[in-house]
Amino acid sequence: MTMLELANINTYYGSAHILHDVSLEIGSGEVVALLGRNGAGKSTTMKSIIGLVRPASGSVRFSGREIGGMPPYEICRNGIGYVPEERRIFSDLTVFENLEVGRRPARSDAPSWTVERLCELFPNLAERRANRGGQLSGGEQQMLTIARTLMGNPKMILLDEPSEGIAPVIVEQMARTIQELKREGLTVLLSEQNLHFAKLVSDRAFIIESGTMRYSGTMAELSDQPDIREKYLAM
């Protein structure tokens, strides 16, 4: 069953045309990677989904419902969680207060999370509960931003480059976390430049370049096509 479907969206920043007729669809329970180089338009795609920027045309359907044009809070309440690339932790708030900001009522069609369960998933957060967000390390902030989004009990989450700028051990832990989330039944759209990381967790991949979708296929198919990897992903 399709969970999220973008059809021919076009997004602008001011007069700069960034996304050109981008389409993608993600089934329920899938983990899908959105791959592309720096500046390709991955973050803009995510922002267009959560409503932080509004696509000028095209449709965004979630669980069969048109969400394009809704304000971000309504899109969130429909069941999409957004984990931004810059993390955007509330640095003046404690770890638990950060979680509190994300809290929303449980829903029957999505895994439900509590602070206790999230502390099991991210043991570091429990230890740091009374610290301010600004005092956490990069890896801890990445955990916190994911945990904060999960507090909203989403059906699907948008993870924007979760492996960026964190230590290799933490990257592995992150991969395990995403696998765990998949087991819980969560749908995940993951943006990545790091193909290795994407391979660890995703079933399928889209490749975006210059705001245009260039490729879509399973992770296994992509592994067999070094030319495509070369063309759109190599640095």
Binding site: V101, G102, R148
Partner: protein, 617 residues
């Protein structure tokens, strides 16, 4: 010892209302990024509403119920203002929001006059706290102690709200990153409204609680406004504990200042603010602003264009029409249009630093009034002839701008605005209090033009020549490399620094130039009126200039001219009605909401519609 403690307690009691109002302003600013100029008006309304409620509700319970009721009523009014006035313009540059809240001030002033009349009202004493308490042999009013306790209780309640409740945590989160808060499912719109209610509620109980001490009158709004801004800026925008500490600091210093150096009281708090800002530009408890978060006059703009042939024709036509005013307008028209030209120059000089430089000055009247007083003092004490006085007026104002600007250009955004306001207030206080030199409130009289220019028509032509000359000079400067550098510094200070521009120096010099031009306007004004009073230096005067610029539109050079003309003529027209403030306020709000580009913006819009129609036909 007893004396010192008693003074300390008096200061703390005075701080109580100041803290309540300032914390409300600070909370509103933190979340919505709106500097609510109408906050002083909410405070005033709190006092009036409580006065009326206390007439009806008797006794101890009635007294405190009235304070609560005043808070709720004012909170509701704040909510209405947020929903009806501010919601439609949150997307506009924040300066339009300032102008809109200024419109709200005018509206509330007249509504209060309408409902409660012009007399000062004296508040009832608080039942149960009418007497005095002896502390270390000094008599301290019991209600002073109540006020101190009240402030502390509110501080604790706010602490609890912001640290122990979900709503409070959301507000703190939104103060930091409202976009992220909305992506986490929080309806910003409701949050903003709630915060406005809370902030207005605090201003309302502030006004109500001081009723037994200070009463209620129609000047309360402006009287507290400057102090509230000072407190918020010293404490740090958005910080409640900062507001508390700063309110205490200012009020206590004030009380001791009265005893040690009575002349100091009007300037003291501004001096403290200037010192704090120079050393801690974000206030004692404030957070550093992120670049681009504030103070911008909007997104980068289209380049200024040199006037086209047709544009030059329009300018020439306008000047020609002005030259004919004495012929057709009679004496009344001549005097009125001299004012219009003077204000055009004043507004254009503000526009130079505000529109082109992106530096929002709230104290531009300092230079206008500064020029006026320079000329008047020269005539009064040195018998200087008009010609020389008109030359020295811009120099005097420019000199003041040099000193003030040196401090101010170190800051940006709201803090720049507040510091300019503070310096303007300092200058005003000096003029107001140095009665021996300036005549204080009585002003300086008998400053008339030289013999040859004594005829109003001749003087009108002098104003026309110097005024349009000043405006054209400002325009020309905008098109020199110096003007381009100033624009570059506004649109990207970092990039300008990277290519080796000394941004602060350029801004400083532009500030001086703009100040000098305002001084010329002031000089012309003095000789037109024959007198000058401290009102020419007032905050309200600076606001007049701001409104002219915003009415006209920040984005174009013709904006301030249009704005000043419309504003001056409107004021002349409306001041014949008893409730002209109400009309003007509503008009300002309507213009800001309907034409976020100002009058010139509306003109451009119509022109583009028109030319498109031409193309399609």
């Amino acid at each position: 010892m007893g004396f010192i403690v008693a003074q300390l307690l008096t200061g703390m009691a005075n701080a109580s209302a100041l803290f309540l109002v300032a914390s409300g302003l600070s909370i509103i600013f933190g979340v919505t990024r709106v500097v609510n100029f109408a906050h002083g008006s909410f405070y005033m309304l709190g006092a009036f509403v409580a006065y009326s409620a206390m007439q009806v509700l008797p006794g101890f319970i009635g007294f405190w119920a009235s304070i609560l009721l005043a808070g709720l009523a004012v909170g509701l009014i704040g909510l209405i203002v947020e929903v009806c006035v501010l919601k439609p313009i949150y997307k506009s540059p924040e300066l339009y929001q300032l102008v809109a809240t200024f419109g709200v001030i005018l509206v509330i002033q007249d509504l209060a006059l309408l409902v409660w009349g012009p007399e000062d009202l004296i508040g009832k004493r608080a039942p149960g706290f009418e007497g005095v308490v002896m502390i270390l042999g000094e008599r301290v009013p019991a209600y002073d102690l109540v006020l101190i306790a009240f402030a502390v209780i509110v501080l604790c309640a706010l602490w609890y709200l912001f640290n122990r409740t979900r709503a409070g945590v959301l507000v703190r989160a939104a103060t930091q990153d409202r976009e992220m808060v909305s992506a986490l499912g929080v309806n910003q719109s409701i949050l903003f409204t709630a915060v406005f209610f809370l902030g207005s509620f605090l201003a309302g109980i502030g006004g109500a609680a001081q009723l037994p001490k200070g009463g209620a009158d129609l000047l309360m709004d402006f009287n507290i406004l400057a102090a509230v801004f000072v407190v918020v800026v010293i404490g740090g925008m958005g910080s409640i504990i900062g507001a508390f500490v700063a309110a205490m600091l200012i009020s206590i210093l004030q009380v001791f200042g009265v005893h040690l150096l009575p002349q100091s009281t009007l300037v003291l708090m501004f001096v403290v603010m200037a010192v704090v800002l120079v050393f801690r530009p974000w206030g004692l408890f404030g957070r550093e602003e992120q670049a681009g978060e504030h103070g911008g006059a909007g997104p980068p703009q289209e380049p200024l264009r040199e006037l086209s042939g047709r544009g030059r024709l329009v300018v020439a036509a306008v000047i020609g029409a002005l030259a004919l005013v004495p012929v057709f307008g009679g004496q009344f028209g001549t005097v009125l249009f001299a004012d219009v030209i003077i204000f055009c120059l004043f507004a254009a000089s503000l526009h130079y630093i505000l529109g082109i430089g992106g530096l929002v000055s709230f104290g531009h009247a300092a230079f206008y009034g500064g020029g006026a007083y320079t000329a008047a003092l020269l005539v009064q004490y040195a018998g200087t002839p008009m010609e020389l006085a008109l030359l020295l007026a811009p120099l005097g104002a420019g000199f003041a701008a040099m000193i003030i600007g040196w401090f101010c250009v170190r800051l940006s955004g709201v803090y720049f605005a507040m510091l300019t306001l503070a310096f303007a207030q300092v200058l005003w206080s000096i003029v107001f209090q140095w009665t021996d030199l300036t005549g204080g409130d009585d002003g300086i009289l008998g400053v008339w033009p030289s013999q040859w220019a004594s005829d109003p028509v001749v003087y009108y032509y002098l104003v026309l020549v110097l005024g349009t000359g000043g405006v054209l000079l400002l325009r020309a400067m905008a098109h020199t490399p110096f003007g381009y550098a100033l624009r570059g510094a506004r649109d990207s200070a970092l990039r300008s620094e990277a290519i080796g521009m000394n941004v602060q120096f350029i801004q400083w010099m532009s500030f001086v130039f703009a100040g000098a031009m305002a001084g010329l306007a002031g000089g012309l004004f003095v000789f037109a009126k024959g007198s000058v009073f401290p009102t020419e230096l007032e905050i309200a005067k600076s606001f007049d200039a701001l409104i002219m610029v915003f009415l006209g539109g920040v984005q174009s050079l013709s904006g301030p001219i249009a704005g000043a003309s419309v504003f001056t003529l409107l004021q002349d027209l409306l001041s014949r009605f008893e409730y002209w403030r109400l009309c003007l306020g509503l008009l300002i709000i309507a213009i800001v909401i309907l034409f976020p580009g100002g009058i010139a913006g509306a003109g451009n819009w119509m022109r583009s519609r028109f030319s498109r129609a031409e193309v399609s036909s």
